[in-house]
Point group: C2
Chain length 416, copies 2
């Protein structure tokens, strides 16, 4: 039994047929199914038959060009793959029956032979963590790595990231970096060992987007439940809106910025964007980490909200047009007067805050609360972290009311 | 100039033509426009011409039957209108240029002549507050009032409520009350002085729903941007998803329970529901108020989360399938061990938590965190408040995992 053999495997009543991959180890088998997906199987649980030996030049597929070492192709752009962990980069190594994050960029190339021939690749690992464990210092480290890759000549960057907090990390990079090339985040909602894994298509579409013209920080994930196309979302306007669907990510309140067709390999942008080369590469990595987000709900203890007063900044998810209980207004007034900016967003998610309509809103404005328009609450938190470290304190309110990276639009009005 | 006169009014360059209503006072005019909406105009700012005297029997319209006092019609059901405040009940009294809440149920009947002839009405005012100021004690007072109205023979109840926190109050009543008749919340996204106000259609459709067969706590609001139909949402599954649109309310992850056609006056249910009379009237009004909801975001201070440990219960809006940073798990474990239940929901909004897939989730389950399935975070908070006051402490976890009022479904799986 060797990599490249066609095999039949039975595990727990389920049958698999495909080609044994070189990432097979003593403990686990990796089988490339005919549909293109890899499945990982615990060897101790598997019954295996070799159907035919050496049917597939797996080393050749791994190296991209007929079994030789990877050659630099001057006709192709160079795309840097950066791995931070998450399902897309996770092996099929079952630690306790599920998925842990263990992969580097070379492993991704091996696991996704379809990436071959699309670009010259550079690969690096910045982190290897599930994205719920992502922290602002890793955002900064990642931004530095992306900056270095672009400086080193990458024509585009693909960041592999867990889906849980992808929108936060991508937003952070949108504020931290001025980029002349695409920076495309992608991930996977289903691990590589599942027949329905989305990792192959998402990675391929992300590479195609990284070669395209839109020099923004984008999120590239399944656009539908099918394996037909990926949507390209502006990082500051995207939200993971479903816990498990492959098309969990949606641009809030608008169509996605663009679409990558998986079969045609075309990238189609539907709205205006920052073009390749328009910005000079720059990095502004400072972040104030002592920023909190608090969601207002009826019955919450105002005393417990007061305990947040030692934060450097506060983002509030208010109700409706941007409201909280009237009795919270003095707390916010004190925070503002003591130098802690308070930024209002809406838990409605769609639409924009407008605190000029009702009494409570006008009281909030009078207390110095900053309206974040239609900035999403999570994005507003990231932006406030960035603003507090990069602009003068007196400029923070105006910065929060000014679009910097597409996070704030002026196309809607409070009544539309 | 008298109520019933057809008038032409100019205010600030805008012209209005319609019938002067009896709610006109020395300070303000109320004009019923030809489209059916009432507009309120500050008399000091208005130029007014009487076009024709006494064109409309406004007192008759008010009383429903030819100018006489309201007569009890045995052929009609009795609907109780309960006002709690909010835009739908707000007058056009401009306190500081916008809308304050000042109305009682009789005023609503006067403002919405279209309600006449649809039912015998009882009216009462429980509160007169903007809904961001709603508190659990008002939920309890309202539940008591609804209970009394049903005991007194109401065939259905309509609750007029501000839209900001309607979903919280309606969910609270769904847990507090066992009801043999419909309890229908409605509100208005646009105040009565705006030509685009939704208050007339929402009130009419809510009354029709209160006469129908579904004995659940429902939310009745515009289904589309047009004045064609209202959607009926199960209170525990509805969410205000837009700050300002008239069709801001959506059932999460499913079609609404039913639809009220405004023209046809038909009520059409599309899914199964609790039928009129199936439940015996009962009230379980206890609520533990010291329950907090915390939204996990990357970079949040774990020290500040620890400050919530004195709460009686904690609902967490985790990421994805129900995750937080690994370093928060010990904090939650300590809370659980000290008797503060911690309930996990997802900030994705759609889909359900499933903490058996990834390491972080299994660690959370091991720490005693309770999975709330696809219960919405706000609903989970209300339910935990209710559970802590109504079931034994050891039964709270199982209660949170068991559907009580449609808040939790079993139709989706983590991968669908």
């Amino acid at each position: 039994m060797n990599p490249g053999d066609r095999v039949h495997v039975v595990r727990g009543g389920t049958e698999y047929e495909g080609v044994l991959m070189p990432s097979t180890t003593a403990d686990r088998l990796v089988v490339k199914l005919d549909g293109g997906y890899n499945v990982g199987i615990d060897r101790a649980e598997a019954e295996l038959d070799v159907l035919e030996s050496n049917v597939y030049d797996v080393e050749g597929a791994r190296d991209g060009e007929g079994g030789s070492e990877i050659q630099f192709d001057e006709a192709l752009p160079t795309v840097s793959l950066i791995s931070t962990g998450g399902t897309i980069a996770s092996t099929v190594d079952y630690r306790t029956g599920a998925v842990t994050a263990q992969f580097d960029a070379e492993d991704v190339l091996r696991a996704v032979p379809d990436l071959a021939g699309r670009a010259n690749y550079r690969g690096r690992v910045v982190a290897n963590i599930l994205s719920e464990n992502m922290t602002p210092d890793v955002w900064q480290e990642l931004a530095g790595a992306v900056h270095e890759e672009i400086e080193a000549g990458a024509d585009g960057v693909v960041v592999m990231h867990g889906t849980d907090t992808m929108q936060f990390t991508a937003s952070a990079l949108a504020f931290i970096l001025d980029t002349p090339v695409p920076v495309v985040f992608t991930g996977s909602q289903r691990s590589a060992d599942r027949p329905s894994s989305d990792n192959v298509m998402n990675a391929v579409c992300a590479v195609e987007a990284a070669k395209a013209d839109c020099a923004e920080v984008l999120v590239c994930m399944h656009a539908t439940e099918s394996d037909d196309r990926c949507a390209l979302h502006r990082s500051t306007r995207v939200r993971k809106n479903h816990t498990s669907r492959r098309n969990a990510f949606e641009t809030v309140g608008a169509e996605p910025l663009g679409v990558v067709d998986y079969d045609d390999e075309t990238v189609d942008f539907r709205r205006s964007y920052d073009e390749r080369g328009a910005a000079d590469l720059a990095i502004h990595p400072g972040l104030e980490t002592e920023v909190e987000l608090v969601k207002f709900t009826p019955g919450m203890s105002f005393d417990r909200v007061e305990r947040l007063a030692d934060a450097a900044g506060l983002v509030v998810e208010g109700t409706g047009l941007g409201h909280v209980h009237t009795d919270l207004v003095p707390t916010f007034r004190e925070m503002v007067e003591s130098g802690t900016p308070v930024v209002m967003t809406s838990q409605c998610i769609e639409g924009r805050v407008c605190d000029r309509v009702y009494d409570t809103g006008r009281d909030l404005l009078d207390a110095g609360v900053i309206e974040a328009g239609d900035t999403l609450p999570g994005t507003a938190k990231v932006k406030l972290m960035w603003a507090l470290a990069n602009v003068a304190p007196e400029s923070v309110p105006e910065t929060m009311r000014t679009p910097l990276a597409g996070e704030l639009t002026d196309r809607s009005t409070p009544w539309q």
